[in-house]
């Protein structure tokens, strides 16, 4: 019998530059035994939620460096609600000012990881919030 695997969508919304950080996280999650669906740069909220639905992921991981999190995250959460994906956990990596952190958590973001976060912390967070059986 094949065991259940945690599936994570790693996406890079917005128009900003590189996806080095997102790739590092993707590899760390793979090395922790998870299945990572990597979608690359310049993802719109619609693309992210559509992919999350088709791939039936447990977690959506966003990498946002542009500072556009207060615009992108509410839109993604709204689309997740609309597509019956409210039980999917949303985590966020990037530069998020302290005053936004509380607001994002209140909206329903499950974890926020600043630049230079230990990837092991992300792995542990996901293992904690995703129930396996």
């Amino acid at each position: 019998m094949s065991e259940r695997k945690i599936r994570v969508l790693v996406a890079k919304p917005g128009l900003d530059g590189h996806d080095r950080g997102a790739k590092v996280v993707a590899r760390a999650l793979r090395d922790a035994g998870m299945e990572v669906i990597y979608t690359g740069l310049r993802q719109t909220p619609e693309m992210i939620v559509e992919a999350a639905l088709q791939e039936d992921v447990d977690v959506i991981g966003l990498s946002i460096l542009s500072g556009a999190h207060m615009a992108l995250v509410p839109r993604i959460l709204e689309l997740m609600q609309a597509h019956d994906l409210a039980d999917v956990k949303l985590i966020l990596g990037g530069i998020v000012p302290d005053e936004d952190i509380t607001a994002l958590q209140r909206m329903g973001v499950s974890g926020i990881f600043g630049p230079g976060s230990d990837t092991q912390a992300i792995v542990e967070h996901i293992r904690k919030v995703v129930p396996l059986e």
Binding site: K5, R7, R30, V36, L53
Partner: protein
């Protein structure tokens, strides 16, 4: 979509809801969908299954992307199953094929699913076949299956398809990749992608030489046995399918129209020659036999007890009994009880 009132609930659900389909696919991957698979099997069999396989980086995902766009332009619905290897070290995987398929987003007539090979019971080929059955019952017209053509299991996955494309690209080294991997035999159509890159001519030459040497084989039932026989022996020398070579540039759509035309030709050939029925019979024979073997083994072990099996293993270690006699003994004991 569901005109028939007698549709089983699972079939109605996956035709109406993408979420239901996605969840079913997860259950199949987790080997927890036997009842669903039994219910949906009678409602499949209409989709055209196209395998796309080849060495890493040859442009399979890009090709799948442009093929899907072309099928959508014909009004056909398309689903894509993109299979990538699981890391043997961690059991995890990074599945990146969607990166090349972003043109397809926002279209309700397209469904993309990425899948890792895992260490599935009964092999990845069977899980993939079950995933394809679910997509088939969900009533997609075309199902595209991308696999990295590197090993035996990928070859097996690809051979679940009606039409198998083997993708090559120039400039990936001196050898044509398919020759190394031994997957040329399963190609119904050879695609030379990246035809905009230098070195196309030598790739074409190498492939033509290979095709001249090789003989297409069909896996069919012969005297009740699954056999690989020359295609010409099945359908006659003149009627046998001649593997064509098609050049494409997946990134800008060049050659995709011609490729789809060849795929349609191959589909017509499969039907008119009767080869499709022969292949189906052979693959069902293989699958039923394999499942039967497993059931019989499980039943027998249950009857004689695991301890009895272990005892015989211990005796084999001491060279008191050989493995073959041990198996015969277990069978005799199991059947007798």
């Amino acid at each position: 979509m569901s005109e028939t009132p007698t549709l089983p609930p699972i079939v109605a659900a996956i035709r109406e809801s993408r979420r239901a389909l996605a969840r079913l696919l997860t259950r199949i991957e987790n080997n927890a969908a036997a009842a669903d698979l039994a219910a949906l099997y009678p409602h499949g069999g209409k989709a055209h299954l196209i395998g796309v396989t080849g060495a890493p980086g040859t442009g399979k995902s890009s090709l799948v992307n442009s093929m899907a766009k072309a099928y959508r332009a014909e009004g056909k619905t398309v689903s894509i199953l993109a299979v990538d290897p699981t890391s043997p070290f961690s059991g995890g995987a990074v599945l990146g094929d969607r990166i090349r398929m972003r043109d397809l987003h926002g279209d309700a007539g397209v469904f993309i699913r990425s899948m890792a090979t895992r260490g599935n019971l009964g092999g990845i080929a069977r899980t993939t076949a079950d995933m394809i059955r679910a997509l088939d019952a969900a009533a997609f017209d075309v199902i595209l299956i991308e696999t990295v053509g590197a090993g035996q299991s990928e070859v097996e996955i690809a051979s679940a398809a009606h039409t198998t494309l083997v993708v090559e690209a120039p400039g990936l080294g001196d050898d044509v990749q398919a020759i190394k991997a031994g997957i040329l035999e399963i190609a119904d159509i050879l695609v030379v992608n990246k035809a905009d890159n230098p070195g196309v001519e030598s790739t074409l030459r190498a492939l033509r030489a290979m095709l001249d040497l090789g003989h297409r084989a069909e896996r069919i039932m012969h005297h009740g046995q699954l056999m690989s026989v020359p295609a010409a022996a099945v359908v006659g020398e003149d009627e046998a399918w001649q593997t064509p070579i098609v050049q494409t540039v997946a990134t800008n759509g060049t050659g995709i129209g011609g490729l789809l035309a060849k795929i349609a030709e191959h589909r017509a050939y499969l039907r008119e020659s009767g080869v499709q029925t022969l292949r189906e019979r052979a693959s069902l024979n293989a699958e039923i036999s394999e499942r039967l073997r497993e059931l019989l083994l499980a039943r027998l072990i249950e009857r004689v007890g695991v301890a009895r099996l272990q005892a015989l293993i211990e005796r084999a270690i001491l060279r008191e009994i050989d493995p073959s006699s041990a198996a015969a003994l277990l069978l005799a004991e199991g059947v007798q009880e």
